[in-house]
Symmetry: C2
Subunit: 428 residues, 2 copies
């Protein structure tokens, strides 16, 4: 049996333990919801204050040049590129994940049908993140495409000659199940489809190699594992072989080849810069830089390893430990593991399903300072889920121990059945 | 002749003078570029720090409920509605102006052609803000429409039965010329076209009455006269008679009727909420609230007047004074007034054209602490422009005097011909 002592020993031996000091977390809280909203880096408050009082307040309009605002989407994109197997100049940080998905999905449909007009289907997973499906549905309505939703095991069979694009989220937001990116991308390409990945639950969470996989397009989120702050701008990657092939529909001034000539005709910038559109929220964008800087610090901790390889080892150790402790200490209460046990199929979260009381258990845990979240199921195929994200940047092994202890007490005492934990309020 | 003493007396009598204390401006600077990037409200730094350290850092994911993040686009939209003649619930603050324009222009084209399939033309002004034209051009490419660009005096004649949408910026970004919104809207409607207004240089600058004019769609900017901070989220208004008629193409989770049920099918929220898409940058969005709060303070200064009526009187007095002083004190240097002299046709800026040296004069003024900006012309029809924005919230009459005095000295001494003022760098 694993003991608290074991956990303390793991923390003492953890080369990444110093990264915890890069974050400001409230005392008494074990934060296992970084997959929904990442924690606050210690550097962010001062940086944001500098942007507000110095860059905006004092430099005013000059800050576009003096503070480097104009290049910020590319600078942040280059930092993100290192985490997702992309090259400098291939990624920009901008807009929201949904808006970026609209850009690349439109581009993908345009390119696919330019090469093969009969390809009029987008394939995705039924349990993909809903906003991705909404964007795809909207594009289908507008352009006469069809969105076909399948279960993960049905993907390969669904890739008929009518499929233009396979659009998947790399790590499933509910279960934490991770696709084999190179293998799935190869299957899509073998079927003549383009491959679009949503990295919302991957970037900063698991190693990603878009170049190695030969993917076509990717989008991802700035405010989950990248710790960019609430609603931080998202990012978009386009394989350089495609970048110059299409305008992208949201053709705004920031994507223009010469944005300061104010010409009435649009001429797209080369490369991924054309995937920029309007003016970006500089305060929020600057906060994202502080989140990304922590990964630069992480890359220095273990010689000859990338930040993500270093973080991945601890992430798997944390999720393994959580699974082990739940099975050792919380057995008999109807919890089932919804996340794959195999490392190669697991993101940086663990989801537990429970047929009754999942929402209330999460509320009772939050009242005890263990913050995870709840995702409703749809009955049989997708049960209610208790979701726990493990961010190796700021979660330790002792945290895992105490989280499971609190879960055990909530279950043993039946505390979750109290009325105050069963009042549904808006949750995110 | 107008004197400095006259200006000091106007400041002493100005009921809006206390509003200057709501802003933090660097000492020694006369800021006449609020039409490009509004100044920093004093309340913003503390508010942003609260969002970062308390809402994000301490409340973490709970802040979606406890800090009211989810309702913020609507709350800010309701504050903006008061400035543009819209009703509560008709405006949301979100995304960028370009992205919002894409949403409403797509909706407008859809609605226009649903009623009359032969309407395949968008009419706009040749000197409209370029990003608006780029977005329109992109939609035309994608959907087989045609963008027809005309001069202001050619608009009425261009409204043939093939025109789906007339898309105009209310106040021209170069010249400060203002359209007669009710009259132009009526002309568009008489021709069977929908009317879309960009209020980037109007909202917070001049009184706007979208409802009274019977306009169909509007977008606008958060970081110019609304003082929301660099790249602050923009806003979008949809006439309630149209709001439920179309999905809008950027159909993301925040525009869903029940965003927290995570259903795979998109069902649009009623009203303007469906014009929301992805998660918004909360730090930047919160900063915008501080800019809007100053207008609430302005509304209390003169009984029985709206904030915008109060501000308009001073705005016209400031721009009148600037024009008068330039003509009295800077004559003989080839400056020409590019902004209409008639109040009804003037926004809250004054543009001066000059065939030679406009860029260098602006640089020399900036070196002297008078911040305006430069917009290049295209030769004959649109000459180079020196642009001066007058924000009655924080610009006073004495400021106007000193700005013109600095301009006079730059011209009289030929200081602008120095090499350091003639080196072109990136400008915005």
């Amino acid at each position: 049996m694993t003991t608290l002592h074991d956990c303390l020993r793991l923390d003492a031996q953890d080369p990444l333990a110093p990264l915890r000091e890069h974050f400001s977390l409230p005392p008494g809280v074990i934060y296992l919801d970084g997959n929904s909203l990442g924690a606050l880096p210690r550097a962010t408050a001062a940086r944001v204050a500098e942007v507000v009082t110095q860059e905006w307040g004092t430099d005013l309009i000059k800050a576009w040049n003096t503070a480097g605002w104009f290049d910020l989407p590319q600078r942040l994109g280059n930092q993100i590129a290192r985490l997702i197997g992309a090259q400098p100049g291939e990624v920009v940080a901008t807009d929201s994940t949904s808006v970026n998905l609209f850009k690349v999905l439109t581009a993908a449909l345009h390119m696919a049908t330019a090469d093969a007009p009969q390809r009029k289907v987008i394939v995705s997973e039924r349990s993909n993140f809903p906003t991705d499906l909404y964007i795809a549905e909207s594009l289908c309505r507008q352009h006469g495409f069809r969105l076909q939703l399948v279960e993960p095991e049905e993907i390969a069979a669904a890739l008929t000659p009518e499929v233009a694009v396979l659009m998947l989220t790399h790590v499933n937001y509910r279960t934490g199940a991770m696709h084999d990116m190179p293998a799935v991308t190869a299957v899509a390409h073998a079927a003549g489809a383009l491959m679009l990945w949503d990295l919302a639950h991957s970037a900063g969470a698991v190693p990603v190699d878009l170049t190695g996989a030969g993917a076509d397009f990717a989008v991802g989120c700035g405010y989950k594992y990248l710790n960019g702050g609430p609603g931080a701008p998202a990012f978009v990657w386009v394989n350089p072989v495609h970048a110059d092939r299409f305008w992208q529909p949201l053709a705004g001034w920031w994507g223009h080849a010469t944005p300061f000539t104010f010409t009435p005709d649009y001429r797209p910038a080369p490369g991924v810069q054309r995937y920029l559109c309007g003016t970006q929220p500089m305060i929020s964008l600057s906060a994202l830089e502080c989140g990304l800087d922590v990964f630069t610090a992480a890359a220095t901790l273990i010689p000859n390893q990338t930040a993500m390889d270093t973080l991945r080892q601890k992430s798997l150790a944390l999720t393994d430990l959580f699974i082990t402790l739940v099975e050792q200490r919380c057995a008999g209460f109807g919890l089932a593991l919804a996340t794959p046990r195999e490392h190669a199929q697991r993101g940086s979260q663990v989801s537990l399903s429970k047929s009754e009381g999942a929402y209330a258990i999460v509320q009772a845990l939050i009242a005890r300072g263990v913050i995870g979240d709840f995702r409703a199921g749809d009955g049989a195929q997708h049960p209610d889920i208790l979701r726990f994200g493990f961010t190796p940047l700021y979660v330790g092994y002792e945290d895992v121990w105490h989280a499971v202890e609190q879960l055990r007490e909530v279950l043993h005492t039946a505390e979750w059945q109290r009325p105050e934990f069963n009042t549904i309020s808006a949750v995110t």
